[in-house]
Amino acid sequence: MKKLVLLALSLFLVLSFTVSAGAKTLKVGLDADPVSLDPQVQLSGGMLQLSHWVFDPLVRWTQELTFEPRLATKWERKDELTMRFYLRKGVKFHSGNTFSAKDVKWSFDRMRTSVDFKGLLEPFDGCYIIDDYTVDIKTKKPYALLLNMSTYFFAMDSEFYTGTDANGQPKDAIVKIGESFALNNESGTGPFVVTKREQGLVIEMERFKDYWDKNCPGNVTKFTLVPIKENATRVAALLSGDVDFISPVPPQDFRRVNSDDKVKLVTISGGRIITFQMNQNRVEALKDVRVRQAIVHAVNNAGIVQKIMKGTATVAAQQGPRGYAGYKETLKPRYDLKKAKALMREAGYANGFEITMMAPNNRYVNDAKIAEATAQMLGKIGIKVNLKTMPKAQYWNEFDARAADMMMIGWHSDTEDSGNFSEFLMMCENKETGYGQYNSGYCNPKVDELTIAAQSETDLDKRTAMLQEIEQILYDDAAFIPFHWQNHSYGAKKNLKVKEIINAMNFPYFGDLVVE
């Protein structure tokens, strides 16, 4: 018995001394952890965040939405279809291999075989090696957003991922479910090397000693990521000092995080629009533009921003936020209950009608609460709403089936450009082309025509005019209920210089983080 006590005691001592001084450690609590170490297995925010920590793209977004050279030092347009990238020399992978043009081509080709990225790469013709440190990337048609897309081109270590693994499976296999080499092993060029990963529990990373970017101000040597799903718990962990950084911070806790003297709140406006779509194929009344206008006028989205989002979102009246090409200054939020009631009367629905509504409850910030508030707002103009909220795993199924008369959808443009919204949300649903994949029941050929034309229009003024016209049409048609653009929110200890590393895409560049 004594021995056991001694053993336990000495174990204690050893454990308490292992935390050495000097090293800058960073412990981050996010709402979910990345599903894999393979940057090409899933196109999701979480995976892209990880890619920026462990890998490097050709170019990346800055806070001002301009492009910053990473693995490409410069680029030039060769012709309408081709962009030439000059690659950085002297870059090492985590495995020790040297980075060169073959890795860019290899990663590009592998990406095209991934179901998640296939669609994004549709406009591309291919990647061509010019010499060891030069590549040409070609598109099939003139494509205005080639550079935007290059932020997705992370270089993987072609040598490292070639061959077969212990199970006899090719190392470059992209496997969604089941073991794969890339699931548990990585070799990128990024600032952090993964040392341990336990799905759902923790990812531990250490700074890459041979990181190419010697000008990088970041000084974090050990970086741990833990998923903390529950909002309140995540905030508690930050306040108690268990973690140094959390995201997202639930709006209801902004005040508390802000008022604490050890931590601070940092927010940045993001481009994700939250909307409800009204299905005209399911409900006759919704075909009447007056009814749709009445609904939009009944929704107090400014109130939702103020009360549910606690002021940290931007009230919206259109799809793309300010700064996007299609943004039209004159489109203003429309809440006006009197007018909404008048419109309902005018349309012959003074007594209202009954509809069904669905929304996810773990996809967007406060999604279920927004839906609940909307249901109540519509109640005021006589529309009785039967609301059901559910986890996203069930919700997307229901969305595919267009199972309710009104469905919530939030969207962040993959290309940081207005066109992407209409392509997915507002163009007539077309199973063949994939357009309107997330459009439940609105169709206007004029919108389709303009969106397609804008894709290959390289005259930027003309293109802007087209995109703005789309927003105007959607506004006049009351094609959807706009709510707001979500802000990204981060809570961190005061000694972390967070402001410098965040951006509208919600990719905090922890490699550049300075801990004082």
């Binding site: 204690f12 196109l43 073991e179 799905q199 508690a236 108690s240």
Partner: protein, 339 residues
């Protein structure tokens, strides 16, 4: 004579165990069948595996490759075939064999149960015995009314109150998670929170809130059993022999109270297990209950089915053992179901 009687019991026991195993298998079949029948209703695991941009056609292809589009019976037979070999499928969410995921989450829950069991034992024994010996004292009355209050508090509300008080206002105890853990066997399967101060601190609030539902029940049980025993001839005889009160109460009376208490304890731990789901949710405790809710939310259907099968078998197993033990301890009880 004695030998043959013994042999008879053994035969009996053997038949009983066989019947129990058959029954257990039947239960497993039903549970897994039901689990399988509803798994498509809970959500589409493919949606959670792919990004939102992936087209329906490609999703269907993935589902095809995973065998999710096969007819129900084919899927079920495939599951049973694998299950016989100990393979309960692969969790979509954790991307590991479902059984491994469950086993890795079990220690957290088991430690939670051990912690609350300790609290229950340490608090209910002295309080129960005391209130049986001195039913009219102030402490006894207080204990009894407090225990009724305890039964009436929902576990999750107790948990929230504890967090509000100790973690938010007083800031003396952590509010979530397991804290610092030690890998007990060095193979990553059992991370224990019992060996670090931080881990123990994290155990306090969840264990208290979990035990709060069972504690009152045991105080009452021990009290009533003890009171009953004190009335028996046996104790009266002990008094008559002139034994000291301490000896009578602690050795003679208390010993006899214990047997029924232990039996109930075994049964109630099952119910406590169910309540860990609520406790683990509030405290974000990464145990089996937390995993179960996560699996429901994320439509990890194969993990869900595996969970039901594992929990079902554990319960049948525990019940069988309890019945057998009970049969041994108390031979007057006929083994259930025999005539």
């Amino acid at each position: 004579m004695a030998v043959s009687k013994f042999g008879k019991i053994e035969n009996h026991m053997f038949a009983f165990i066989i019947r129990r195993i058959i029954q257990a298998l039947l239960v497993m079949m039903i549970i897994s069948l039901v689990g399988f029948a509803i798994k498509n209703k809970i959500g589409d695991p493919v949606r959670d595996l792919v990004g939102e941009r992936v087209t329906p056609g490609e999703r269907a292809e993935i589902a095809d490759n995973m065998g999710l589009n096969d007819p129900f019976l084919i899927q079920y037979v495939r599951f049973v075939k694998h299950a016989v070999k100990g393979d309960l499928g692969r969790s979509f969410l954790y991307n590991k064999p479902a059984l491994e995921v469950i086993i890795k989450h079990a220690p957290a829950t088991i430690e939670l149960l051990i912690g609350s069991a300790l609290i229950i034992i340490l608090v209910s024994l002295p309080l129960g015995v005391y209130s049986a010996l001195k039913p009219r004292s102030l402490l006894s009355r207080f204990t009894m009314s407090f225990s009724t209050l305890g039964v009436s508090m929902p576990v999750f509300f107790t948990a929230i109150l504890l967090i509000y008080l100790f973690a938010v206002n007083l800031q003396v105890l952590p509010s979530y998670g397991r804290g610092e853990t030690v890998d007990l066997f060095g193979n990553g399967y059992w991370n224990t929170g019992f060996l670090t101060i931080d881990g123990l601190k994290h155990l306090i609030l969840p264990c208290i809130s979990l035990s709060s539902i069972m504690l009152p029940l045991f105080i009452r049980l021990i009290r009533s059993e003890m009171m009953e025993v004190l009335e028996t001839e046996y104790i009266k005889y002990a008094w008559a022999k002139g034994l000291s009160p301490a000896r009578v109460w602690l050795i003679h009376a208390f010993k006899n109270t214990l047997l029924p208490v232990v039996t109930v304890f075994g049964v109630q731990m099952g119910l406590t297990f169910a309540f860990t789901i609520l406790t683990e949710l509030v405290f974000q405790w990464q145990g089996m209950g937390f995993m179960f809710l996560e699996a429901v939310q994320r439509a990890d259907t194969s993990l869900l089915v595996a969970y039901l099968v594992v929990v079902g078998s554990v319960f049948v197993l525990v019940n069988t053992i309890v019945d057998i033990l009970y049969g041994f301890i108390n031979p007057t009880v006929r083994i259930a179901g025999t005539k």
